[in-house]
Symmetry: C2
Subunit: 337 residues, 2 copies
Amino acid sequence: MLKFDRELFVQALNEGALGKRGELERVVDEISGKGFSNIFLIGSGGTVAMMYPFEYIFKSYSALPVRAEIAAELLVTDNRQLTSKSVCIFASVTGTTKETVAAAQFCREKGATTIGLVGIPGTPLAEAVDYAITFGREKHAFDVFYLQLQILTTRFLQQNGEFPQYEQFAAELAALPQGMVAAMEEFDARAEAFAIKHRETDYHMLVGAGNLWGNTYSYAMCILEEMQWIKSKSIHAAEFFHGTLELVEKDTSVILFKGEDATRPLVERVERFAENITKELFIIDTKDYALPGISEEFRKLVDLNVNWALTSRISAYLERERNHPLEIRRYYRKMEY
Amino acid sequence: MLKFDRELFVQALNEGALGKRGELERVVDEISGKGFSNIFLIGSGGTVAMMYPFEYIFKSYSALPVRAEIAAELLVTDNRQLTSKSVCIFASVTGTTKETVAAAQFCREKGATTIGLVGIPGTPLAEAVDYAITFGREKHAFDVFYLQLQILTTRFLQQNGEFPQYEQFAAELAALPQGMVAAMEEFDARAEAFAIKHRETDYHMLVGAGNLWGNTYSYAMCILEEMQWIKSKSIHAAEFFHGTLELVEKDTSVILFKGEDATRPLVERVERFAENITKELFIIDTKDYALPGISEEFRKLVDLNVNWALTSRISAYLERERNHPLEIRRYYRKMEY
């Protein structure tokens, strides 16, 4: 596969997430032992989008009040729910994202317990939090974060008596990196064909729901807009019918992120509509991939990791076909504002 | 002003919201007297967007757990926070929005206490809830809802000991309809000029934050996309810098919704960036309007009503300039999906 090192990918997930299982569990157990009143999942851009799936998973499994918050907004709002009894979880690949670091300091000053998932040790975010989980690399950092968050989230659920399947789930996660690679290999030719066909397409509509809504939002904003400078609209599948549908014409590119949680029927409803209107409907369905070693009941939890991995294949080919490296920015971190 | 009847507007707000103050207070007081554990603000499209400001206001003022939810997603998700101790608030202009009606029935079956804000009495939503607040008209229904929600929200806060200024605030609201009309009259020429200039513009970026984020999302989706078939991207001011900024070029239309709550600096940051890049920056700032009778400390609560009213003037002129009636739909309620 273009620009993909299978060994490196599996190694990153094994070392960065699965190998940190004991450390992640100790953090959760210590915090759960002391007790807390709510959990905040805090990030900026891609990292807050990465928190949305876990906010949704908590909602579906737990009576714990959990809320994702944009770091910069949290900083200016006197959020009355944020107290010394709160647990705040942050993530930053570089460990230097300004608002995220400031938000971690802010929450710590309020007396909240802070956990930071950080690519690079010794960086400002790693220094600002009570518990820093670092793994020493930027490559595949989001895949690592997603897997770390799976462990953190389900461990919190288990400690709260809401996920007795934890041991089995955590053990099965060991099979996920290989399953993700196999899924990417299977999807790769479709990703390449999509990028070739849509080399010149200047607008995409992305639709998702439930625990894939964060990925939908993120792929539109952080990949298509930020890294490819292509206009894109992310819209929740349930909201699609309250406005955005009116824009769909016979050649509109509509990308559906189909997952396996309870919101799947909402995405299928968009599919039934879109397949009658546009010939440019592209569906990424995690159900198409086997994931050996993952029990049926857990697929609805890890579909987000698989979806994330699959979409990275599109990015690799868009970069080549559009001759537009994913790293160039016009403005971000290039000017003051 | 084009397609605007000043008397009718003030009458709608007076009868539909201010005249319902006693009824709204009795509902809140009865529910607060019995006790409850959390509040859900539930809608679809424009009506869930209308709930976002109040979710934000609760967050800033209250320790009560309050969450806005998309009706269709709530219906398929087994939300563990939704119990017989929950209060669920719904709104629908026609009283017939399918998912909203189904969600009201669903919440009531769970034993939750349900409140419905409904344009038309005797409709399915009005029948499905424990407390229906109806006002008998569709015209200006959103302006009425916003004002009803101001009363409901601040009354809940007062009953929870978090808004001792309630009596003064509720009394001052009587001056708001006239203040909104004066603001619209002042803004009207700018709205017309914008519509003339952007008659052919095929993409707008809308940016807002805090209690104007819902309006930002809604104007993009429900007006520009649904009613004018113009591509648009709504982006939270804090998230703008994590992707969408890269799309801004010298002729990109960027519309800023500037309000008066704690998130104003986030929008000002976008302003500082955008004014250096595009010549098509259009700012709608509620601070520019006097609002006689409204105390300084309450402006940050009612900026969302004012912003909503101002943007309606743009819609009126876009409709005329683009010769595209706000009522035509290609697909919504015209086909099955």
